[in-house]
Structure formats: C-alpha cells, structure tokens
C-alpha cells in the first residue's frame, strides 16, 4: 500500500459521513488524511519491511518472506539447529518490565492514597514536583543513577567510608552479595546488574504510576471506609476489604500501561543491564541503526514487541471499560 492509496481511501470516508456539510466534510477529510499518513503509515511500513530480506554485505530488499520471524522464534538454521536467543531477549524485556512496573505500582499506591487526602493546594504542589520528575528525560535519570551507583563516587563509596562494607563483611552478608553479583572482592558494586536496571526502570515510571492512579483514588468515596471503621473494622481490614477491591481494576490497568511503556525502554537497559541480559529493544536498535544494518529483522522484532504491547493494552482497555461501567 502506498501513501497515495491511503490518501484516496481517507478522502472517501468523510464524503459519506457528512453529506451536505462541505466545510465540516473538508475538515474531516484533511484530518483523516493527516492521521492516516502520520499515525498509520509508519506502522504499516514497519510491518511491511519486517517481511523484507537482507542481502549479505548490502542493504535490504522488499520481499515477502517469513525468514525474519523464523529467525526470531527458532533461529536461521532451523530445523537443523534451534536457537532461542531472540526469544530469550524478549523474555528479558518482559522480565524487567513486569518486575519494575509491579514495584512502581505497589509503592506508588500508598503514596497516592496519602496524596489524595491532602488539601487541594498541597496536592497541586506535589503534582508539580511529580510531573517535573516525570518529564525528566530517561537520559538524565540514567545519568543520575549512574553517578549514584558508580564505584568511585556515590553509594559504594558511601558504604566504604561509613564502614557499611566492613560491617557487611563482618556479619557475612558480603558473600551473599558477591554471589548475586552485587559486590567485587573489595567493595559492593551496584552496576551493571539486574538490581540497577530494575531500580532505574521502576524509578522511571513511578511518577506515571502516581499520575495514573490519582484520578481513581481521588474519586474514592471516603464515607465507605468511614462506615466500615464505625462498624469496628480495623484500618488494615478496611484497606483490604473496601479500598483495594474498589480500585482493583485501575490498579491492574495502570500496571499494564507501565509495563507496555517499559517494554521498549532502551537507555536504561543499554547502560545498566549486563551484556547477557540485553532486551529486544536493544536488539531492534542494533539492527536498524547500529552495526548489524538488518532493517527487516529489526522490524520483525519491532512487530513482535508491538503485538505483545497491543495484547497487553487490549486487556488494559478491557479492565478500564469494566471499571468505567461500574
């Protein structure tokens, strides 16, 4: 499908939708054309190119082959030889994104609950703070944590100076840290590691978690939990039996959205994850912009990432519309 085809299709729709209203019809036409060209065509290009073929030592050509997908799931040499390297990368994408989004939501939930009980003007100040940190670029945040976790300044240095390292050695926990890769023989070492990756990723989406949970939590009816309290329920019983069930759906919806957002994170992984735990997003980059120059295979990986994300978003949407309906 070419761009010109899309334009023709787009121009036909409003003519039927709004007969007589020519000005509105023209507006609809222009907007539809814009949306189709800029919001749909890029995705179609990715999908189409994912069926293309890479020529060794040269660029790629248009084609219709499933080779790239085969390579992703079972490797090029299938059925003689099977490799799950790319599936494993997708697995790490999921692994990091699931843990980081859960961590962010679970810590953001009590925070947001407390936030909605503050005065409106105080809430606004907190929101400015949270929005500012939310808008901080991934590169700044990675830079910040990189300094914080680096060996010659930041936390490891702090551990050493305050004697924490020695204390850890004395009580024998240092060996445990070494076993899970968070220490070298002399001191604690936080990066590269899963710990640093997950910490930074969940830091990255934490403000989003607050912003997404905020509407649902600020609409909670306090009289319900007050009623439960007067009937003698303890605070924790109220949270467990009244508050949590009524926000279950937005909670799951938020987790899904953050998860989808994190599926594609690139900078954090490329700086903090160990080379054997790189994700699909990093592989997409190295195929399209990096050294491999295999755009069709990169596109196939992007399509698979997109499909995974769409499935999650669809379930999220389902949950949200259920929540709206109640």
């Amino acid at each position: 499908m070419t761009v010109a085809d899309d334009l023709n299709v787009a121009a036909d729709i409003p003519a039927k939708a709004a007969p007589g209203l020519t000005r509105k019809g023209a507006l609809y036409g222009v907007l539809t054309a814009l949306m189709v060209v800029f919001c749909v065509v890029p995705f179609i290009l990715v999908i189409v190119i994912s069926f293309g073929r890479k020529i060794e030592g040269a660029a790629w050509v248009w084609d219709f082959t499933f080779e790239n997908y085969q390579r992703f799931f079972v490797g090029t040499l299938w059925p003689d030889e099977v490799t799950f390297l790319y599936l494993q990368q997708l697995g790490y994408s999921f692994y990091f994104a699931i843990i980081a989004s859960l961590l962010a939501v679970l810590t953001a939930l009590p925070f947001t609950l407390l936030l909605t009980r503050l005065k409106r003007s105080t809430q606004a100040i907190w929101l400015v703070f949270i929005l500012s940190s939310l808008s901080m670029s991934e590169v700044f945040i990675v830079m910040g944590w990189d300094i914080l976790l680096s060996n010659n300044s930041g936390l490891p240095k702090l551990f050493q100076v305050t004697g924490m390292t020695q204390w850890l050695k004395d009580v024998g926990w240092f060996q445990t840290l070494r076993d899970i890769g968070l220490a070298n023989p002399r001191n604690v070492k936080f990066k590269p590691s899963e710990f640093a990756t997950i910490l930074t990723m969940s830091y990255l989406v934490w403000p989003y978690a607050v912003i997404l949970l905020y509407p649902a939590l600020s609409r909670l009816d306090p009289s319900l939990s007050e009623a439960a309290r007067t009937m003698g329920a303890s605070r924790w019983t109220v949270i467990r039996t009244v508050t949590l069930p009524s926000i279950r759906l937005p909670l799951m919806g938020t987790t899904l959205l953050l998860f989808v957002f994190l599926l594609g994170s690139y900078v954090t992984i490329s700086v903090f994850a160990t080379p054997d735990k790189q994700t699909t997003a990093v592989a997409i980059y190295s195929n399209i912009r990096g050294s491999n120059l295999n755009a069709p295979f990169g596109s196939a990986q992007a399509v698979i990432l997109l499909i995974s994300a769409s499935i999650c978003l669809y379930f999220g949407h389902l949950l949200n519309s259920k929540a709206e309906a109640r």
């Binding site: 409106r120 830091y203 509407p215």
Partner: protein
C-alpha cells in the same frame, strides 16, 4: 499512622529527588569529571553550556526549535479533532482521536522505527523539520486529552443561551467555547513542550545522527564518559519543567487536569 504516612511521603520525595540532586550537584564540578559531592565548585560549566561550546549551544537551539514547533503543531492538529469529538461525537471523530493517540500508546521504540522508515522514504530523514513533525505526532495525544477535558467542562446551557440570543455557531465558538478552553489548550501546549524537550528515542531514530538535540547530545556523551556540562543541561531542563508545571498549576486547575474529583476541595 498519620506520622507514618508523612514519613513515607517524605521518603518517596527523597528517593525521587536523589538522582536529580546528584546530577545538579555534579554540574558544579571544577574538573573535567563528575564527582558527587562536587570538587572545586565553579559555575563555569553554565557558561560552556549556554555560550561558549557550540556542541551544546547548537543542541540547545535544536531542542528549542523542535519543542516549540512540535507543541504548536500538536495543538493545531489536536484542537479540531477534540472539537469534532466534543461537538459531534461521531464514530469518525472517535476514530480520529483514537488514531491520534496511537503513537503515544505503543512502545516509543516502535513508533520511532516506523517514523524513521517513513522519513527515509519521504526524504525527511535527518532534517530538523521532520523531527518537529515526529514529535507533534508522538505527543499530540496530550493536548487532545487536555482540550477534551476543557471542552467537557463547558456548561451546555451557556451554548443554548447563546443560541437563543441569536448567536451563530461561529460566534458562540468565539465567545463561549474558545475563552473557556484557553487554559486547557495552553496546558496541552506546555505538556508537549516539556515532553518534547526530554524525549529521546523517537528523535534518535528520525535525526539519523545528522543533528543533535540536548538529550541526543547527552546520550552521545554518556558513552564517551561524563562531563559536568551535561549536568547543566539537566538542571536547565528541570528548571523549565518546574516553571511550566507551576504555571499550569497557578493558572489552570492541575488537580482537575490530572483527573481529580471536582466536588472535593
């Protein structure tokens, strides 16, 4: 419990601020490498970032062009879509709004790759104007949402009153709809502005290394080791964000924009 709550919120604020404080502190380093706490503190890095080092001044200029261009364009596209959605509620207008939000909803790397291909075929790859359009596409979901919230807050009886007194749709639009939605339009503009400033992955793919914005320049420098000048960029962006959101909170209704219940105050 109350005290526990306060402590928890304070702790969250500290963790949230920690990397930002460290980056800001590192900007004061006198030497060429990053230390925290800063050694030999100086403000010379600010001069390098804003005045003397062309790498950074060019990057800053590109960032500003892309952000303001994208914010203007995104609002200009989002306005008619939000208006059609509100005034007609037709299936087509819903589809348009859905399509407009699509780039923001998928993992950014996918739309980055897609726009990269798109500009490669249309000849825009590596031009600043294509970066402007790409960011407008990516972020138009934000003004779409804020303007829709603004339009929904208009009391329909005002429109009826205007119509009874003989106002045409255009006049009602100019005297009732537009004034009431301006704060929300401006909020949408600022949200795009700030997020465009800080966006990395899409501009990474569409710039094709032929120009750099500040975030791109920082990423490039991340690989060659840190310089304190990078931290000045972080401070600048943070200050811009805080000013923008404080302005939105001051002149708009931030809790309502974020979806808080209106009845509680």
């Amino acid at each position: 419990m109350r005290i526990g709550g306060h402590i928890f919120m304070a702790l969250a604020a500290v963790v949230l601020a920690m990397p930002i404080v460290v980056v800001c502190g590192a900007a004061l380093n006198g030497g060429r490498s990053m230390f925290f706490p800063p050694r030999d503190p100086t403000l010379a890095r600010f001069g390098e970032f804003f005045v003397s080092e062309p790498v950074w001044t060019n990057a800053l200029a590109n960032s500003i062009i892309v952000a303001f261009g994208a914010a203007t364009l995104a609002v200009l596209i989002a306005w008619p879509v939000a208006y059609l959605l509100w005034s007609s509620g037709s299936k087509l207008s819903k589809a348009l709004a859905g399509l407009g939000s699509l780039p923001f909803a998928v993992p950014p790397i996918v739309i980055g790759v897609g726009l990269g291909f798109f500009w490669a075929f249309t000849g825009g790859l590596g031009h600043v104007w294509s970066g402007v359009i790409s960011h407008a596409i990516l972020l138009m979901a934000l003004p779409l949402v804020t303007i829709s919230i603004g339009l929904q807050s208009i009391d329909r009886s005002h429109l009826d009153a205007a119509a009874t007194m003989g106002a045409t749709e255009q006049i009602a639009f100019r005297t009732v709809v537009l004034p009431q939605t301006i704060p929300y339009t401006i909020s949408g503009f600022f949200f795009v502005l700030v997020l465009s400033f800080n966006e990395f992955i899409v501009i990474f793919f569409v710039s094709a290394s032929s120009y750099a914005t500040v975030t791109l320049q920082i990423f490039n420098s991340l690989r060659n080791g840190y310089t304190p000048t990078m931290a000045v960029a972080a401070i600048t962006f943070l200050v811009v964000s805080i000013l923008v959101f404080a302005a939105v909170a001051r002149w708009g209704d931030l809790p309502r924009l974020m979806g808080a219940d209106q009845s509680k105050n």
